[in-house]
């Protein structure tokens, strides 16, 4: 049985797909058979970030509607061979994701994989609800600003009330907070909420803090999960998050401004 992890946030543009790509890559790199599913039907992006958009033939909706088999739709990652991608359809609507259809796909994948990472669309509508319904764990991606925190709170409420675990009265979905686009300088100037602020408001355990970085954008544009940028702070922060997800204890980094560290890394790397 696979562990099913949804990457969700409520708010758009906070880094769900970036996180899905890096977390799934990180899990796969540690030898776990991992599949990442793009639930953002109609606005598919995951295949771009994973650099496999030219290899998409069949998609998630095709599989649900019986037009293709899972094997036809799954794309094997070229960099990490235990990682597969199930892309979203660009031409359908989110309603094509029926509960029964999604359940069948998840069950089938569950037999073959160790981890299923579900990349949720933004919002709290059908697509997002389908992405989180079967989850065992949730990574709630949050930016350190008020509206993102509010939306994350909303999604946490939905996880507690509308997930399969909630409906069946099982143990609740395990929640993880992942703070992205964190800029310690702006926090110290009072322009952003601090880690402590967000933790205090949302009251769930912190999985990691991903610093705001140009490298994240560059990696996305190149179709490279940022976790593979091993010299970057963002890449290392994602690697820490994956380790913690697997139960390792790792100290949190990149939470305070460290100009010096930045320069020393520059010189070392250069």
């Amino acid at each position: 049985m696979a562990r099913i992890i949804v990457v969700t946030s409520g708010k758009g543009g906070v880094g769900k797909t970036t996180t899905s790509a890096s977390i799934s890559t990180g899990l796969a790199r540690r030898g776990h058979k991992t599949v990442v599913i793009d639930f953002d039907v109609g606005l598919r992006n995951l295949d771009l970030i994973m650099n496999c958009e030219r290899r998409v033939v069949y998609d998630f909706v095709n599989v649900i509607q019986g037009e293709a088999t899972l094997n036809q739709a799954l794309i094997r990652d070229k960099r990490v061979d235990t990682l597969y991608i199930l892309p979203a359809s660009q031409t359908r609507e989110k309603e094509a994701l029926t509960r029964e259809g999604v359940e069948k796909v998840i069950n089938d994948l569950s037999e073959r994989f160790d981890y299923i990472v579900c990349d949720s669309p933004a919002g709290i509508e059908h697509g997002a609800l389908m992405a989180l319904y079967y989850a065992d764990e949730a990574i709630v991606v949050t930016n350190p600003e008020v509206s993102s925190v509010r939306d994350s709170d909303r999604i946490l409420g939905i996880l507690q009330s509308k997930s399969r675990r909630a409906e069946m009265g099982q143990d609740p979905v395990k929640e993880h907070l992942l703070l992205t686009r964190y800029n310690p300088d702006r926090v110290s100037r009072g322009e952003m909420l601090s880690v402590a602020d967000v933790e205090e408001i949302l009251a769930i355990p912190l999985l990691g803090v991903i610093p705001e970085s140009q490298i994240v954008l560059n990696a996305s544009n190149q179709g490279l999960p940022v976790i593979l940028e091993e010299d970057s702070d963002a890449g290392q922060a994602y690697d820490d998050a994956v380790a913690r997800l697997l139960g390792e204890e790792r100290e949190h980094r990149f939470m305070s401004s460290q100009k010096k560290g930045f320069f020393s890394r520059m010189f070392k790397g250069g």
């Binding site: 709290i124 909303r154 946490l156 409420g157 507690q160």
Partner: protein, 254 residues
């Protein structure tokens, strides 16, 4: 005219939100004679209950023709039996236009659960519904059990204790709403909206460990966040109603 605690110029009146339990007449079709005979029959079962009650006509299950709906006749018949038709609920545009023509208030269609009113010999329950005054009938049996919530109440969630107290052992987040007929206790920060005494119990109170609320209301008297910040903000407080004013007092450590 008695003095109130309200300082400054005294206004002629004050508007308050009120929620009153009322009887709805669920109309399936309308025939003047049949209406009156059915009404007479119902009243004969519990004459005291129907005396001078307000009534709303619910059209949500109305199956007859709109043209057959004669609100003037309905009002007249009810009036002869000392029942005051005050408005209609639901119905299509035509039906609502007719109701408006008869000077009836228009209430939105409800998905609220209506209880079937028992007009049997038991008058005790009927009296409880009858009493339009806010204080609930004290029953001398067991108090209504408190509803206890252990998890955070998140944005968009609503928790409701329709009969008694509501006790929350976790934060109430911004954008969440907690409501109780009795007191509201929040053993955590109260960042959302808290409404105590929603059926009109003016003795109800709100307790919280950190007052950061968007709104606090007791028996329809409310204060919004802006008006709460001067007193006890982000500290442990209780809020109660005194002379129609919400009073915030710190919770002293014993």
């Amino acid at each position: 005219m008695s003095e109130t605690a309200v300082s400054g110029v005294k206004q002629c009146f004050q508007l308050k939100s009120a929620s009153v339990s009322m009887t709805a007449l669920e109309l399936y079709f309308f025939d003047d004679e049949e209406f009156e005979s059915t009404l007479r029959d119902k009243i004969s079962q519990a004459p005291g209950f129907f005396k001078d009650i307000p009534l709303i006509v619910s059209l949500e299950k109305y199956e007859g023709l709109s043209s057959e709906l004669d609100f003037f006749k309905i009002i007249g018949t009810c009036r002869r039996h000392n029942i005051h038709v005050i408005g209609v609920r639901g119905g299509n545009d035509d039906q609502r236009r007719l109701a408006r023509g008869a000077s009836l208030a228009l209430l939105p269609g409800g998905n609220q659960r209506d209880r079937e009113i028992d007009t049997g010999p038991e008058t005790e329950s009927a009296e409880a519904i009858d009493s339009p005054a806010p204080p609930r009938v004290e029953n001398h049996g067991e108090p209504a059990p408190a509803r206890i919530i252990n998890q955070p109440v998140r944005s968009g969630q609503q928790v409701y204790a329709p009969d008694g107290d509501l006790i929350i052992l976790a934060p109430v987040q911004a954008g969440a709403e907690v409501l109780a007929a009795g007191n509201v206790h929040v053993y955590g920060p109260l960042r959302g909206r808290a409404l105590a005494g929603i059926h009109g119990a003016e003795h109800a109170r709100v307790f919280c460990q950190s007052l950061e609320a968007e709104l606090v209301s007791i028996a329809g008297h409310y204060k919004i966040s802006e008006d709460l910040q001067d007193n006890g903000w982000k500290t442990a407080v209780q809020i109660q109603l005194r002379d129609d004013l919400l009073v915030v007092t710190p919770l002293e450590k014993a």
